[in-house]
Every structure is written in structure tokens, then in C-alpha cells.
Symmetry: D2
Subunit: 138 residues, 4 copies
């Protein structure tokens, strides 16, 4: 499991006095991009090679609020990867309290020129890196 750390910003709060729930989707995105960067097949490079990976689904369970200036750790792992589909699982943890603030998932496909493609066929080096990472993670 890969851990991505960041602070909760003032501009992410709402008038409830907590971080607005929509920001968790942004944090999840930051975490999976940081994971891909670290593994050497960055999302930026993927887009430069003409493949985008849009989000096809998300879910989130909010358990504890995050407050302004809290440091959160977003633990992220690949739950499923088929070459065509990719699912990440996330755990958003408060660094100070060690409490789980939220649990979530995001699902992705791969598109080239607007059409669904298999990474295995179009970007074999990304596919291999994903496969290697998944094997090592288990």
C-alpha cells in the first residue's frame, strides 16, 4: 500500500467548519497520481502518449470529518487491474488521531482517440509495470 500525505487547506473547508466532502475525490486523484509517479509510469507520461484514464465510478464512505490544517494520509492500492479496467481502493486517515476519516474506491478505463483500449496492447510498458507492482503488492 502506497501512502500519500498532504495537509487539508483552508480553501477546502465549508461553512460546516469541516473539509467539503467533494475534496476527497481530489485527494484520491492526487494519491493515485503520486503512486503512478513513484512506480515510474506517470499519469503525465500516459497522457503524453495519447492515453487518458477517465473515472468511470467512485464511492466514498465518510466516517470522521477532516478539519482545516489537519494532515491526512491517503493510503491507496490497486484493487483490480485487467488491462482494460483499473480499480483503486483508498483509506483517508488523520495523521494525528490515526482515525479513518473515509474509505473509498475509484474505477477507471483507458481511452485513446475517444475509444476504450487495452493498456496491454497500446502501452505495454505501463501494463508490465502495473502487473509487476500488483504481484509485488500481494
Amino acid at each position: 500500500m502506497f501512502s500519500y500525505e498532504r495537509r487539508a487547506y483552508y480553501h477546502e473547508t465549508d461553512q460546516m467548519g469541516i473539509i467539503h466532502h467533494s475534496n476527497y475525490l481530489k485527494w484520491m486523484e492526487e494519491a493515485r497520481i503520486a503512486l503512478m509517479d513513484k512506480l515510474g509510469f506517470s499519469y503525465k507520461k500516459m497522457e503524453d502518449l495519447g492515453v487518458i484514464s477517465p473515472v468511470t465510478g467512485v464511492d466514498l464512505e465518510y466516517k470522521n470529518p477532516t478539519k482545516f490544517n489537519d494532515i491526512v494520509i491517503i493510503n491507496v492500492k490497486v484493487l483490480e487491474y485487467t488491462g482494460v479496467k483499473l480499480t483503486f481502493e483508498y483509506e483517508i486517515v488523520s495523521k494525528e488521531t490515526n482515525k479513518i476519516n473515509a474509505i473509498g474506491h475509484s474505477k477507471h478505463c483507458f481511452l485513446m482517440d475517444g475509444k476504450i483500449v487495452s493498456l496491454k496492447r497500446k502501452l505495454i510498458e505501463f501494463h508490465d509495470a502495473f502487473m509487476k507492482y500488483i504481484e509485488e503488492d500481494m
Copy 2:
């Protein structure tokens, strides 16, 4: 079913050339607040009376991208209301193509002074309005 209409803004796009997926959670919030406004028990009034209704869970299935300047209709309905828990269902539809861009849900509880409360006990007029709306909707 209540229909809330709005345009997709330029500042909501990302470099994929589509609306960033996190904005759908914001649109769902706008739609449920507009629904409550229309029913006469506004979310603003609820907060003024000391009750907040945080999001406890969300899910979203993205089916078609929304583009800049598209008009979207967010259809929203109450799926479940128990006095303590509230679940909304959403359908985000492109006005031009009539295609469903996304389907989602949000779950909520009610808090007063940081504690979970029953609307039935704390804000009976809201509870009654919700009950009346649900009955009429069926």
C-alpha cells in the same frame, strides 16, 4: 422527481477536455438544496436552527462526459428517509442529447451540537414536510 438545471462552467473542466468528475458531487449538492428550497424547508433555515446534515456516503457511476457549456439537468429524489437517515438519488442528464451522463446517490445524517439527532424530535416541521413530500412523490 425534482429537476435542477445548470450550465457546466469552464472552470469545472480539466485538461481531458471534460468536466472534472469531482464537480458532480457539487451539482448533486446544489440539486438537493434547490429541492429543499422549493419544498419550503430550506437547508439554510435548517442550519440557522442549529441542525447540519453532513454527507455520510456517496457513489457515482459516470456514463458519458459532460463538456464545457453543456446544460445539465440533475434529477433528484428522496430514496429513503427515516427521520435519522436520508438518502437521495440523482440522475445527471445532458439537456441537448438527453443522455444520462451519470447516476449517483448521497447519504446524510442530522447533527445538532455535534450529536446525531432525529429530525422528527428536533425539527418536527422539517420532518413533516419531508414525510408529506415523500408520500406525494409515490
Copy 3:
């Protein structure tokens, strides 16, 4: 002067209990895009024709806070247009109180393939429409 109206959303508030100041830049963008749509030379069409109009400068003076669910009117006008440079002026007014919440400006240039271009040379129909609008506005 063109008037663009919209509601202040819950997700735009911060924990001060007011609309976060960064959102005013988004509202200004919405207002100038709505103005261009209305004049028949939409920003969407401009981008489809290969010209983008990035922001080169902004300023904002905040006079009164905007609260959640307030309706704001963003009055926008072209302050200067030279074919190469474009400056808008904005007044953000609370519909209920008629108070001016903020005054601002945004400056823009035009880019084609990453290079600064003159609308007069590259998109003459946009240039003519701008000129006509400016003359009528005076």
C-alpha cells in the same frame, strides 16, 4: 452593461461562513462567457476555431461578504479592446441588498498555437462583433 445572475452555492463557502474569495474569479469567468454567448461569438466557438484567451491579470476589491444561497448579479462590461488585448470590468452585487460585494477586472490576450495573435487578423468575425458591441455600449 451585461448582467449575469447566479446563486452562491454551499460548496463555495468556507469556514468563515462566507463565500471563499477565490470563487469570485470563477463568477467573473462565467459572466464574461455568458456575455460572449449572448453576443453570438461564444468562447466555446473561439476555442473550437483554435484560439484561446488566457487570463493575463486580475484584481478584486472585496467590499461585502457573499453568503450561502444569496443571489448575486455580476455586471460585466468590456473596458478596453485593442484586437490584441481585452479588459473586462466587473461589479458583483447582492440581489437582495443591492450592495456591491466586490469590484474587479480581468485582462486577456489571444493565443493560437501558443503564440499571441490579433483577433482582427485571425478571427475577423469575432473582432467585428466585439467592435460593434463596444460602439453600441458607449
Copy 4:
């Protein structure tokens, strides 16, 4: 001058393929809050003590675009502090190219129970810390 470093996120891009200009106001906020944290009179503590510091004005000159995944350094310094008014100056620099992407300012006042107050009178320890920091910075 205090330097705050952060990455430009994917969710901050727009369909021009660059970071949306409104995000620079958020980065400036993050930088001044990080500065205050470092100086030992955190903005969080200020709010806990009942004083908020809303933004009364901003300006920004955009010189070079920031791209997704770029690391930016936000240099921030106090330009003016009178006890009642506070002005910050910012320089947003690309870490890789060393180019200045933007220059900006933000102006602030201090409010307690909705009324303008002097930090010198209401939060003397914050005032003293600000004065000490300004003297050392010169």
C-alpha cells in the same frame, strides 16, 4: 522571504491544458497560512481565539502558465502591517524552469464578532510576533 512548495494537481487544470487561474488565489492562501504556522502564530489559532482575517483585495499578474505536475514555489512576504491592515506579496515560481509564473498581492483586515479590530489591541502576542518577523525580514 518564506518559500512554500507544492505540486500543481490534475484537478486544478482546465481544458486549456494549464492550471486554472483561480487556483493561484488558493496557493497564495496556502503559502501565507504556512508562513504563519512557521512563525508560531498560526491562522488556526487566530480563528480559535475569535479573530478572522478576511481578504479585502487581491491582484495577480500571470506571466507563464503552470502545467499539471509542475512543482511551484510560492515566495511570500509581508509587504505592510499596521496592526489593522496586512498586505502580502507573492511570487509564484516554477521549480524546474526557475521562471516566474505569476506575481500577486493580497490585502487583509482583522474581524472579531463581525467588527474590524486591531491585532495590537485584541491579540497582542500575534501583533508582537508579526512586528518581530517584519523587523528581522528587513
